[in-house]
Symmetry: C2
Subunit: 211 residues, 2 copies
Amino acid sequence: MAKEISMQALQRLPLYLQYLRTLPVGKDTTISAKALGTVLGFGEIQVRKDLSAVSDGGKPKIGYGAESLIRDIECFLGYDNLSDAVLIGAGKLGKALLSYDGFRTYGLNIVAAFDSDPLKCGTDVSGKLILPLERMDNLCERMKIEIGIITVPASAAQQVCDRLIRSGIKAIWNFAPTHLSVPEGVILKNENIAASLAVLSKNLAEKERRS
Amino acid sequence: MAKEISMQALQRLPLYLQYLRTLPVGKDTTISAKALGTVLGFGEIQVRKDLSAVSDGGKPKIGYGAESLIRDIECFLGYDNLSDAVLIGAGKLGKALLSYDGFRTYGLNIVAAFDSDPLKCGTDVSGKLILPLERMDNLCERMKIEIGIITVPASAAQQVCDRLIRSGIKAIWNFAPTHLSVPEGVILKNENIAASLAVLSKNLAEKERRS
DNA sequence: TAGATTGTTAATCGATTAACAATC
DNA sequence: TAGATTGTTAATCGATTAACAATC
């Protein structure tokens, strides 16, 4: 089990995990790098290299034990202890994220949502309470929340971001379609729907041009 | 204006565009590579290299004309002619995407949504009609739709994907948290929320470890 | 044992950055 | 002109892939 992992390999780990979790549970379910790669569309050497960063449970001739590999990836990604997060902006996208049960299996626990609309406040989306924005700062500080998920309109995003950081947030997950600036030391991850779309469109156009 | 562009550069183009569109409109608004880079957190050489792939409008000492640069990027990404798409799965995420006006400015036009739930059918989300799944195949074929957006639960995703492909869809944008397999020649773009989260979590854990 | 499979070191490939010439 | 800025060619860096030794 090596120490170094590339950024790209890191992003592939959840995909391995996703697939492994669909496998039938059983003490001795095993899978080879080749089989994993075939399913996910990766080369087998790449799979082995990726997995070598998180696990040393691979056995020649046999492959990887599915259960132990799942545990190793979860452990490497820190999914074994949940991180608390708050979500700001209970619009359609915000509600969709609040309702997504899957986050728990990826180590994220959204403890509450905030919205500036008084009509939304007090209501509940999939068991998560929507609170007035005024209570955000206090709750973040009190609970030492480290992750803030921004799903407000682009025009309000920077303001919300600044406020989260003042409340001690260490990492921002930004779904608003705008660039945010954060001080040194705060982690910013932009969710980038337009970038994905660009890749898809370009591939499609390319394909059409060729045919 | 070169021909080649790297995958990563391609994904940065929408970010440039996003920022440029916030600039005050004016025939002679200009911006330098350095200024663009500072705002978006990229190096100035990278910005120049990226932009050289799409534009030849940069002028020494002056920079790039904002309006013409916007046009060049839009043209390069094919945003000047809208692509029609259908969306399958009018759950919370599906509705959020249907309501997102921004797609039009990124060259995507969702013409209709489909859902297997009869209660949802006939209703309308932000002006997009939700239709019964049975009508999907026919509409895709008739309108020669090329892009399918999948927002159904993971368990139904592969089935929906196969059906879209049978109806002539050329590109799949998958938001379901599962891996899909598509035949050679069909473009698949997985939207990968767990992968982003992994990067964020890892950076956060890394930061904590260091301090 | 032979064959399948892992894990690692070295080679290749692609993307970023540095250096610098061109130009307004 | 001098200085700022673009655009390109060459060098560096990082990620992927190939080759191969280790092992069950």
